[in-house]
């Protein structure tokens, strides 16, 4: 019942309730600010922490042919008040024993690292160019950077098959121009995976880079030039160090999802493109080995947490520098 339709008697009851709630909040020292901060924490708790705990729990079980396809974490034998915890470390041991996983992890890291560097090399000039154009054109250019998001990611990756395949657009164009006789092998290898990742993640590199470069005071570059630095030196001694936060943020935004990337390697990659995302998918859906799949996930998260922590510390440092 809303306050407007409440009878006078209800109104006093409502007021009394409100006073009580306020008193409770005061006793718990909950104020408006705490409430605002609590919201993202609650979100992270429900959608990150709880699933993480569930996955961690499954990773400590063993595969069984039943529903769900893993052993229980807590056992309740008859006549016992407290449950027994049942933990198997065998999944992690398995990850260590089978070189497949190690190779897949390392390969994923390698592909993600190279892709990040490529994104940086391609994205930096684009972001720099956008930041230096007149404000009217800038909005249009930024719109064009995010425009691909209006089409499904999956469709765009599929489109690359049409571009890169044996009788695809590039090969057809090069052959008809007489530049090559034989079609180039560009699909289903590491090359096409790099193309796919760089293409898909480039906006995530450009946007944070643009944000820092746009704020860069042009008079700093003029000062550098005035003090005798040629433009290229001014770029490396002033622009690059000052855009470091953008470089870092963009690299994290590309590197982290690229490590766990599954769609691009499975669509554009070859049979020998080993990436941990693909392994994970196989463990989960082909082998139906949920515990090993969960263990793979937990290790992946740990591998990714390290760069995130580095970023966090960097940002804290940058924040301190500003204060």
């Amino acid at each position: 019942m809303t306050e407007a339709t409440a009878k006078p008697g209800d109104a006093t009851a409502l007021a009394r309730l409100r006073t009580a709630a306020r008193a409770l909040a005061r006793r718990l020292s909950v104020d408006g600010r705490t409430g605002v901060i609590a919201l993202p924490y609650a979100w992270l708790f429900v959608f990150f922490f709880v699933p993480f705990v569930i996955v961690a729990k499954i990773s400590l079980a063993q595969m069984v042919l039943q529903r769900p396809p893993y052993t229980a974490f807590l056992l309740w034998p008859d006549g016992q008040t407290w449950p027994t915890i049942q933990v198997f470390w065998s999944n992690y041991a398995w990850l260590l024993q089978d070189p497949l996983y190690w190779i897949a992890y390392l390969n994923s890291l390698k592909i993600a690292l190279v892709s990040t560097v490529l994104c940086l090399l391609v994205g930096y000039p684009i972001a720099y160019g956008i930041a230096r154009t007149p404000a009217t054109v800038r909005t249009l250019l930024l719109l064009m950077v995010i425009l691909p998001f209006w089409t499904s990611f999956l469709l765009r990756v599929y489109a690359w098959i049409g571009i890169l395949k044996q009788k695809g657009l590039i090969n057809a164009a090069l052959m008809s121009l007489g530049i090559i006789d034989q079609p180039l092998d560009m699909l289903h290898n590491d090359f096409s995976v790099y193309v796919g990742i760089v293409y898909s993640y480039l906006p995530f590199m450009i946007l944070p880079l643009y944000a820092t470069l746009e704020k860069l005071d042009v008079s700093l570059l003029e000062a550098a030039e005035d003090l005798g630095a040629r433009p290229i030196r001014a770029f490396f001694t002033v622009t690059v160090p000052l855009s470091l936060p953008g470089i870092l943020a963009g690299s994290m935004l590309v590197f982290i999802p690229a490590v766990g990337e599954f769609v691009i390697p499975s669509l554009l990659g070859g049979p020998d493109t080993l990436m941990i995302g693909k392994i994970l998918w196989n463990e989960f859906f082909s082998n139906r080995d949920w515990p090993v799949a969960s263990a793979v996930t937990i290790v992946l998260i740990l591998v990714l947490v390290i760069p995130i922590v580095i970023l966090q510390r960097q940002q804290v440092k940058a924040q301190e520098a500003l204060e």
Partner: protein, 405 residues
């Protein structure tokens, strides 16, 4: 063209001779040698020859000619948008003139890139590199020239010593106060020993007290390093205190070049007269020119105006008679006879008490407000002249000035 003569005896000279001696040393006697801009044989250090700069349709700097001599502290003074900053940026090399030439020390630098010029600039925003310490900021210019490490350290500390910032060498710019940042910027611009130092509104970001103090520091430093300074400012007081000579600019053109005294006491145009300090102007017609004395009949005030002037005017010419507020004398109206010329009866409309002086706005006829500045000579709680008092305003024949442009 009509030209006001320059009585050299009342011009205070200050090239390489600051009135306040460096580091509180006693004031040195005046340089007996003629000032370079008066010496026909002196070679200008910086020549700006017919320089024009257009941005699309807009002409920022219009066919400007300037000569700046070695050791000068030259001010470009004007309101915002008058082209002074564009002119400075052309000296630094950030803008290329649409036409004309710029020569520094006899060398044509018109098409030289900023990094190749023997010129350094102190930016209005200071443009200190935020990711470098004070020391690194100052060393930056020397590093670009591949100066040896020990030499860099020696010169950086020499400069930081000069601007009294040595204890802050390891700090980052954001850890410094505004005044300290300003001095880092100055040290950074001076460390390469440029032939010419450009300063874009060097004191604009400082508060009043600090600005006054820094003005003198800047003069002392210039005196010590002997570098030619070109300062852009919109603050006429700053230009008056700092400069050996200044150029008053308006809408891309140089209106007048001269020492502060010349520009203040002998403005050539109404714009300059009005821009530098305050001035009372009466429009009128020349009645008589006799023996260097000009008589003007004012249109709107009921008195004859008489002035000793060498400005060439003829009878019947329209002129503007001008007189600065501090050259007027205000006394209570005793009801006595008024002098035939250079005296007005009026009523006080406004009194602004400034402590050392008082400014009176006196109504001397319909719509004719005369401003007068009087030193407060006596200590008194009660004002001798107050609101709505009838007063007489007088001035001598040497006080006024006839403007024709």
């Amino acid at each position: 063209m009509d030209r006001t003569p320059t009585p050299s005896e009342d011009r205070t000279s200050r090239t390489r001779t600051p009135q306040v001696g460096a580091r509180g040393a006693p004031v040195r006697p005046r340089d007996p040698a003629p000032e370079p801009w008066e010496d026909p044989n002196a070679q200008p250090y910086v020549r700006i020859e017919g320089v024009t700069k257009r941005f699309g349709e807009f002409t920022a700097v219009d066919n400007t000619e300037l000569s700046i001599y070695q050791g000068e502290l030259f001010c470009l003074l004007g309101a915002s948008g008058c082209g002074k900053t564009t002119l400075l940026r052309m000296l630094a090399g950030f803008e290329r003139p649409t036409s004309g030439r710029i020569l520094i020390d006899g060398q044509d630098v018109t098409d030289q890139a900023p990094y190749a010029r023997p010129v350094n600039m102190m930016f209005q925003s200071y443009a200190l590199f935020p990711h470098m310490s004070v020391e690194q900021n100052v060393a930056y210019g020397l590093k670009q020239d591949r100066v040896g490490k020990d030499e860099i350290r020696r010169r950086v500390h020499q400069l930081l010593d000069l601007v009294q910032l040595d204890p802050w060498a390891k700090r980052k710019p954001h850890q410094l106060s505004g005044g300290q940042r300003q001095r880092v910027a100055l040290a950074r611009a001076l460390v390469k020993r440029p032939k010419l130092l450009l300063l874009d509104e060097p004191l604009a970001a400082l508060d009043k007290k600090l600005r006054e103090q820094t003005q003198f520091e800047l003069m002392n430093i210039q005196d010590e390093v002997g570098v030619t300074f070109v300062v852009v400012t919109h603050d006429q007081e700053e230009a008056m205190t700092l400069s050996t000579r200044m150029a008053v600019m308006d809408r891309g053109r140089v209106q007048q070049v001269g020492t502060p005294t010349e520009v203040y006491e002998f403005p050539r145009t109404r714009f300059t007269a009005d821009f530098i300090g305050s001035i009372n102007m009466f429009e009128g017609t020349v009645q008589e020119v006799h023996d260097g004395r000009v008589r003007v009949a004012a249109d709107r005030v009921p008195c004859g105006l008489e002035v000793d002037s060498a400005v060439r005017v003829r009878d019947g010419q329209r002129v503007w008679f001008s007189v600065r507020p501090e050259k007027l004398r205000v006394r209570p109206d005793d009801g006595g006879e008024l002098a035939a010329t250079n005296a007005l009866r009026g009523t006080v409309r406004d009194v602004a008490y400034m402590g050392d002086t008082s400014i009176f706005r006196i109504d001397c006829g319909p719509g004719e407000l005369v401003e007068a500045l009087q030193p407060n000579v006596f200590r008194s709680r009660k004002r001798e002249i107050d609101w709505d008092d009838p007063v007489i305003v007088e001035w001598s024949t040497e006080a006024g000035l006839v403007l024709t442009e």
